[in-house]
């Protein structure tokens, strides 16, 4: 019974957890500029994330060790600095944009400029991490995240052409602006497959005391949860395609995004959007900053756990405190959240090779995983992802220069 409860919770957490400021922005931009055409990139990102999360969850459940812990131990301090620096740099920017997302939501409903909200939002996140257990953090926004289902309702109400959408789930060549098209593909992949997600997920498996008995829960949470979540991102794309694209409205500011919900949902659309943005971005904020603190603490062997009082893991608690404060400052000084989101998604995609390739190596280590090592299907999927991440790294800079918004 308990396992079914864990399963349901995991799926619910993933549904709302998939959407955050990056996936909302990139999906909306894709829909507004290319209609349904980029739905395949969202599907690819979703499947990629599901594969990586399942792998990192299995690694933790079977070995009893987190991904960051094993990265340091198996690859040594010299190599470990590579993914650590990349993860911290990129995650810091994403963290700032998520705080920006929460602050924007508050601006939409109060009229008070988002720069005033950034520090209070960071303080709220900090309070939850300082006092809350891992379960509180994980489950706190889980049920509330279901408000994101309003995108699915909005998409269905707009009567999309299902056949066309179905065909758009297969890769296609752009009809116009190829540089912009491929730039958005990379952004979508960066928004979907974020390394902080599997660092957080593997640490969470240890916090929750997972063992090999949880492998089914792991598969269902990673697979089904992300598929539903990816479906919501596709719903965002569909609504943008049906409302914004015919009017040639491109998204240059986050303020334009709620407008696409006024057609299907009326006045409630803007309010529901603000609620969704608040909850999903707040959830992402605490996840990202925890992932950063986990990576540092596990990599350097510090005491760590969200279930310990901060006095027992001072460096871990101080890390997330400092990161939150400085990330909030980025928004306070006036950096535009959408511009920050756009660049951080591309950077995330470009940094994937240093986190995906080591995972591929670890998932084939029999001393760690025993009979639970990757089979041929899992290995093929990870190799494809690793190759894709290298292509993305090479293409990221030219596409940012030619297709960046």
């Amino acid at each position: 019974m308990k396992k079914w409860g864990e399963l349901a919770l995991g799926v619910v957490t993933s549904i709302g957890g998939f959407l955050e400021v990056g996936s909302i922005a990139t999906s909306a931009q894709a829909g507004a500029e290319f209609g349904y055409q980029l739905a395949w990139a969202l599907l690819l990102g979703t499947i990629g994330l599901a594969v990586l999360m399942e792998a990192s969850g299995r690694l933790a459940a079977v070995s009893g060790r987190t991904y960051a812990d094993l990265l340091r131990e198996r690859f040594g301090i010299r190599f470990f600095m590579l993914p650590l620096v990349a993860l911290l740099l990129v995650s810091f920017l994403v963290l700032a944009s998520e705080i920006g997302g929460v602050s924007l939501a508050l601006q939409f409903v109060t009229g008070v400029n988002l720069r005033w909200w950034a520090l209070p939002v960071a303080l709220l996140g900090w309070g939850l991490l300082w006092r809350g257990t891992f379960s509180a953090v994980e489950q706190g926004t889980a049920g509330l995240g279901l408000v994101a289902l309003m995108f699915a309702v909005a998409a269905v109400k707009m009567h999309p052409q299902w056949g066309m959408l179905g065909r758009a789930l297969l890769p296609s060549i752009p009809h116009h602006e190829p540089a912009r098209y491929w730039y958005l593909v990379i952004s979508i992949l960066g928004a979907s497959i974020s390394p902080y997600l599997f660092v957080f997920y593997s640490a969470g498996a240890i916090e929750d005391g997972w063992s090999p008995e949880h492998l089914v829960v792991n598969k269902v949470t990673a697979g089904l949860g992300n598929l539903f979540g990816g479906g919501l991102a596709i719903a965002v794309l569909v609504v943008a395609a049906l409302v914004l694209a015919p009017r040639h409205i491109r998204i240059d500011s986050y303020a334009q995004v709620p407008l696409m919900l006024s057609q299907p949902l009326g006045k409630a659309g803007v309010l529901l959007f603000a609620g969704t943005l608040f909850i999903t971005c707040f959830g992402a904020t605490v996840e990202i900053v925890l992932a950063m603190a986990y990576a540092l603490a596990q990599g350097f062997g510090w005491p760590w756990s969200e279930n310990l009082r901060p006095g027992k893991d001072s460096r871990f608690a101080s890390s997330y405190t400092v990161f939150l404060f400085f990330a909030a400052l980025i928004i306070v000084i006036g950096v535009d959240p959408l511009a920050l989101t756009n660049i951080s998604m591309v950077l995330t995609a470009a940094s994937l090779p240093v986190t995906v390739v080591p995972l591929l190596v670890l998932m084939n280590d029999r001393t760690l995983l025993r009979r639970y090592v990757n089979g041929p299907f899992a290995n093929t999927a990870l190799v494809v992802l690793a190759l894709m991440s290298v292509v993305v790294l090479v293409a990221a800079l030219p596409l940012q220069l030619t297709g960046g918004g």
Partner: protein, 111 residues
């Protein structure tokens, strides 16, 4: 191992140009696309506000953002060397956005 040490710096050095590229400025075409996009946005917001599909607070914020985009675009296009036809096209685009904002202002100010 020496290669790995070098690679530790390769990652930030690769990501840094990406970060700087993201901070780049706009070309006239990009600016004009943005202006016409904002014009369409304001038209949609005006129509939705008339039909009570968006709250007043949000419509006001959107108007302020659009006005800010108009001012930025005027400044950007004003500082760039443009051919006569392009200058005429730019002026017409900016005037369209200005007119759209005036309509939205009218709706927001109406009792």
């Amino acid at each position: 191992m020496h290669r790995v040490r070098l690679a530790s710096f390769a990652i930030p050095l690769t990501l840094l140009p990406l970060l700087l590229a993201g901070c780049g400025g706009s070309s006239p075409d990009k600016t004009l696309t943005s202006v016409s996009s904002w014009t369409a946005t304001v038209h949609l917001a005006t129509a939705d506000f008339r039909r009570r599909r968006v709250p007043t607070l949000y419509a006001t914020e959107l108007r302020d953002q659009a006005r800010s985009a108009l001012l930025d675009s005027r400044r950007t296009l004003g500082s760039q060397p443009l051919a006569v036809d392009d200058r005429r096209r730019a002026t017409a685009s900016l005037d369209s956005l200005h007119a759209a904002l005036a309509s939205l202002d009218h709706e927001l100010d109406a009792p």
